[in-house]
Symmetry: C2
Amino acid sequence: MNDVFKALADPTRREVLQRLKAGPMSAGRLAEAFPVSKPTMSAHFAVLRQAGLVTTQKDGTSVIYHLNVSVLEEALLGFAGVFGLGSGAASPQEEKS
Amino acid sequence: MNDVFKALADPTRREVLQRLKAGPMSAGRLAEAFPVSKPTMSAHFAVLRQAGLVTTQKDGTSVIYHLNVSVLEEALLGFAGVFGLGSGAASPQEEKS
DNA sequence: ACTCTATTTAGATAATTGGCTAATTATCTA
DNA sequence: TAGATAATTAGCCAATTATCTAAATAGAGT
């Protein structure tokens, strides 16, 4: 979960996730959408992969990235749940008054 | 919002927020709970303050930290909502951070 | 096998972060 | 005013992160 929050700390990576929401996309097409070099994007992809936020699938010469929503959900809603936010479904933590 | 996610990227800072969930606490008492020096904690507090995740209130020689849940909620659930996560329908907003 | 394209790796460098000790500021109490 | 306590700021260092260019790797098609 720490890896997930670290990954989310970068705006480029957050936007990558948002773009993947529309559907799987190749590293190349994703990289085109950002004003940074391909190696830099590759590094961002590695961070996202490490966090489990995306999965990869090879398709010929391309590597297709898929969003892994469940990891995002578990981290985001799990943490939010601790504070009684949202549904709080992922991590039921009651107050200890 | 970027500041919020940056702040959340550090486990110490996330735990500070969780401790503040129980109620306001002084910098000193908060710092005691972590195995780092007070100046280091002070720096973490500054990041949290900068992100708007906590507010401060002076009480004599002490500085009391309060959790600002709404900022946390807006960032976490707002971002989660983009992915259709969260309790039911989320606010339909696309793009950018 | 050769070549083209897509992607990652390597190596270098600059910026940021997290940590420390020591010094400073602010406030309270005597 | 002096002394004690709480918190932050200042100055420094090590480790990490972000970025680049250039080179290497992996397949696909010819």
